[in-house]
């Protein structure tokens, strides 16, 4: 309707027919261009992986899939991955629920500190936890040596622990937001009618949270099975799909099996993405509006309090310890083995060059990502064309795609003409852009929903062309969303490992890749120092983001999209 009205107005005022056409159809033209970009940089690489897995030297074949399911090693890695996902999901949900329950229902003084601790892992690259576990429990680990233990950190257990710690914030954020949206009067009514704390939890809180918990569970599951760093660093001889893909490509140059592993990894992700988006749509219990108020602290019964406090304390303590040991380890060649306090780790040339490269790549990614994000948000919200929901779906799907898959996809798609990108900075940047598009788009969408179309119509009514309106009205209003998308893309790109590990060329290392390599080869000091540098950068980004969202009231929408 907007475009129609716009075109009527403009046809009356402007003479040139081409100009009229452009003005009236600008949204559609823009949408078509964006769709081409998405198709080329997001869909095509995935299709390339699929094709690779199905095409042998002599045409179509299912040979590689047969290999996968007949060889114990591959088959086992699928089972391990799914098991890891399941265990991780359950543990993260339990911990996340306890933390969120305490920060929304517990005593006032505990709420803020617990919330901060729960969210702290966000400033760390997920593999920080793998690193800290090596420092503590590895073969030369502090705890291992102090207690003279002979255990094996590398394997299923280590991966589960590090993954759990890494995904606590995600679980916490999602559960906290559902708990916050639950009208506290509901629980109070049950309390008032004679229910005890445990009964309230069983009969009211958990049943009402069920859709939200399920949503969180699906997302954590997808993110866990796709996560590369922790499993690659701590997996040892235990096979997991994501790191195996990497070994397949870099170790054995077997692109066919690598592609098969990717397709197998991506299948549950796509399945769950659809469940997440469609089955759960509208499955929310609506309650009659009232002012959303923070629940007053309740007298929590010991039956609930004791296990909750234990779980929250252990989780919070573990998170803090992990940060502390990595920080400490960054000042020693190998913490616990060498005793000289050194700064050399921070001055290391490879590390600093990698940081510099990472900043460059992330910056380029952030600029492109923020622009595309804002434009996509615009066409999704304002467009009237066929396939609008489809574009929205693809642009938000990046987060559900395992990084390794998109890594191989880019390798397959862009290593040969027509578009040869490998070896440069662009392939790394573009990869990050399309993987992390979701948040920028979400921020833009929520910002646009705050603006009435009438504002744009008013501008058009006053005689402005589409481009003028867009430039003078839409862009300024969306600027906070642009900045948010920029910073978010930047800080996600700079820590991301799983896709870029396939795409870095020799001599052009990224910080995340350096950390991964050094951790694997036991150069803990440099790995820790590089991690701390990343933590610092992400922290600064978060502070800026926080500042902006406070200034522009983008806060709630950003939090929501970050949790999605």
């Amino acid at each position: 309707m907007a475009t129609a009205e716009l075109s009527v107005k403009l046809q009356a005022s402007s003479g040139s027919k081409v100009k009229d056409f452009l003005n009236a159809n600008m949204v559609n033209i823009l949408a078509a261009l964006l769709f081409l970009l998405l198709a080329f940089f997001l869909l095509y690489p995935i299709v390339a992986v699929l094709i690779k897995s199905l095409r042998g030297p002599s045409g179509f074949t299912l040979q590689y899939y047969q290999n996968f399911f007949s060889k114990n090693y591959y088959y086992q890695s699928l089972i391990n991955t799914l098991l890891l996902g399941a265990i991780n999901t359950v543990v993260c949900l339990v911990i996340g629920f306890c933390l969120a329950y305490m920060t929304t229902r517990g005593p006032w003084i505990l709420r803020k500190p617990l919330k901060i601790i729960s969210l702290v892992p966000l400033i760390a690259p997920p593999y920080l936890f793998a690193l800290s576990l090596i420092i503590l429990f590895g073969r030369n680990g502090l705890v291992t040596r102090a207690l003279d233990l002979h255990w094996e950190l590398y394997g299923f257990g280590g991966v589960v622990i590090s993954q759990t710690l890494a995904f606590i914030p995600l679980a916490y954020m999602m559960i906290e937001s559902t708990l916050m949206s639950l009208n506290p009067n509901l629980e109070e009514s049950a309390y008032d009618l004679g229910a005890t704390e445990a009964t309230i939890l069983r009969t009211i809180t958990i049943p009402l949270l069920a859709p939200g918990l399920l949503k969180a569970a699906l997302l954590i599951f997808v993110m866990t099975i796709a996560e590369f760093g922790n499993a690659a660093i701590l997996g040892g001889r235990t096979p997991f799909l994501a790191p195996d893909t990497y070994t397949m490509i870099t170790g054995e140059s077997d692109f066919y099996m690598g592609s098969v592993l990717s397709v197998i990894l991506i299948a549950p992700c796509i399945l769950i993405f659809f469940i997440h988006n469609y089955l759960l749509e509208g499955k929310k219990f609506t309650t009659i509006g009232g002012k959303p108020v923070a629940s007053e602290p309740r007298k929590i019964t010991p039956l609930i309090k004791v296990p909750f406090v234990i779980i929250t304390t252990v989780a919070a303590g573990a998170i803090l310890i992990c940060f502390a040991v990595v920080f400490a380890a960054s000042f020693y060649k190998i913490l616990g083995v060498t005793h000289n306090f050194v700064l050399s780790n921070y001055l290391d040339f490879t590390s600093n060059r990698a940081i510099y490269n990472s900043i460059r790549v992330s910056f380029v990614a952030a600029v492109i990502g923020a622009i595309i994000g804002v434009l996509l948000a615009y066409v999704i919200v304002r467009g009237q064309f066929f396939g609008r929901t489809f574009i929205e779906m693809i642009s938000l799907s990046g987060f559900a795609l395992p990084g390794t898959v998109l890594g191989i996809g880019y390798l397959l798609a862009f290593s040969a003409p027509p578009l040869k990108l490998t070896g440069g900075i662009m392939i790394l940047a573009l990869n990050c852009v399309f993987r992390f598009l979701a948040v920028g788009v979400e921020a833009g969408i929520s910002k646009l929903h705050q603006i009435h179309i009438e504002i744009e119509e008013a501008s058009a009514d006053l005689g402005a062309s589409f481009l003028t309106t867009f430039y003078k009205i839409v862009l300024p209003i969306m600027f906070p969303a642009f900045i948010a998308g920029f910073i978010y893309t930047f800080m996600t790109a700079i820590v991301s490992l799983s896709a870029v590990v396939f795409l870095v060329s020799p001599g052009f290392d990224l910080a995340a890749v350096i950390i991964f390599d050094k951790a694997v080869y036991g150069e803990i000091g440099i790995a820790s120092a590089t991690t701390m540098k990343l933590v610092l950068i992400v922290m600064i980004c978060m502070l800026i983001l926080n500042f902006i969202s406070n200034k522009t009231k983008l806060g709630s929408s950003m939090k929501k999209s970050a949790a999605v």
Partner: protein, 375 residues
């Protein structure tokens, strides 16, 4: 005295004991004192309304009685028992929230029966009680409906039935009508009042709507800034407000300054000197004496207006008609007397056509005017 007589006497004594006593209640949120010493007694079967502008502490007070908020100082005594430290599930009070807080994952019957199930009532008794309650609120036909398939008024009734299910000693209603549209509010408020009187259940009602409060209550507790300004029946509050705030809170009011010139001790005929002339009223209060500076509380509907006829009888002041807005059953008039502007409501207006063109009018101040002593 016979034993029967003693028993009856004791029973009546028992009935005279208040159901709920609030003793000097204070509540702090950090350094912010939201309740600054509230004392009140609520009689058995009485409907008492806490009313006041937003932020006056009325909802906090209700939540304190329900046990959802800790009390900072003071005592709450329910039926002779101190309940300060009892959690809500062990208190014999039940609350109905503004947003009803019905459990969206349960049917109407399951909602109403929730408290009964929690308190381990046998199945057959629960079913019977739920049936009885649904019949009471006329929702038998909806027992298996989900909550979101009910209208606002129906949800309100379910919440009411649920709160009554365990026969509480005190029913707490937190702005129960504020989510309903204007017509439904009138209907529901009558229904609530009728049920409350029939069940003879002690009820504390919270609202910010002073007219709703006046219509529904036995007594009003008018609050402001964490303090009780006045407690009284609707008539007392409206006709004999304790101060300017209350006078203005329960309806529009015109104030007029004056000084008491004389009070006739036998007839209570009182002469008040105002700058517009001498007025005579019959005094119905004894907190003022000759020589006091007073504020006369003149309600818009108590003043009669007539077209200027030149004949100045007792209590008639001369005014200039500034505006006359005719609205059928009522005409709202703005009249200036000297430098004072008065709003006057003329019910069942006659001679509207003449008033519309009139410039000067006679304003007759009634003899039953309430006086506020000026400090």
């Amino acid at each position: 005295m016979t034993t029967k007589g003693v028993a009856a006497d004791m029973e009546s004594k028992e009935n005279e004991k208040p159901m709920l006593i609030l003793k000097d209640i204070h509540k702090f949120y950090g350094n912010n004192e939201v309740l600054k010493g509230i004392s009140l007694e609520v009689r058995r079967g009485e409907l008492v309304t806490f009313v006041g502008p937003s932020g006056c502490g009325k909802t906090t007070l209700l939540r304190l009685i329900g046990g959802f908020t800790d009390i900072s100082a003071g005592d709450i005594i329910l039926d002779g028992q101190r309940i300060n430290d009892l959690p809500p599930n062990l208190r014999d009070t039940r609350i109905c929230f503004q947003n009803y807080a019905l459990f969206p994952h349960m049917t109407v019957a399951e909602n109403v029966g929730y408290g009964l199930r929690i308190n381990k009532w046998p199945k057959d008794k629960t079913a019977a009680r739920v049936g009885e309650l649904l019949e009471m609120v006329e929702l038998e036909a909806f027992r298996d409906r989900m909550i979101d398939k009910l209208s606002g008024g129906q949800q309100q009734r379910v919440a009411f039935a649920r709160a009554l299910s365990l026969e509480p000693k005190v029913l707490l209603l937190d702005e129960p009508l504020s989510n309903l549209d204007a017509n439904l509010r009138l209907v529901m408020r009558e229904e609530i009042r009728k049920l409350q009187e029939r069940l003879h259940i002690t009820t504390v009602f919270v609202t910010h709507d002073q007219f709703e409060a006046m219509a529904i209550s036995d007594r009003l507790v008018v609050m402001k800034n964490g303090l009780i300004e006045q407690v009284g029946t609707p008539i007392e509050i409206y006709e004999r407000p304790a101060n300017e705030f209350i006078a203005g809170f329960v309806g529009y009011v015109n104030f007029m300054d004056g000084r008491i010139e004389s009070i006739d001790e036998t007839t209570r005929n009182t002469v008040i000197n105002t700058q517009y002339g001498r007025l005579e009223i019959s005094l119905e209060q004894d907190n003022v004496k000759t020589g006091d500076d007073v504020l006369m509380v003149i309600r818009p509907e108590s003043v009669s207006l007539s077209l200027d006829c030149g004949d100045k009888s007792q209590n008639v002041l001369c005014g200039a008609l500034k505006s006359y807005m005719y609205a059928g059953s009522i005409a709202k008039c703005t009249v200036t007397i000297g430098d004072r502007t008065m709003i006057i409501d003329q019910y069942n207006p006659r001679d509207a056509q003449h008033f519309k063109n009139a410039e000067k009018v006679d304003v007759e101040i009634p003899r039953s005017v309430h006086l506020l002593k000026k400090k």
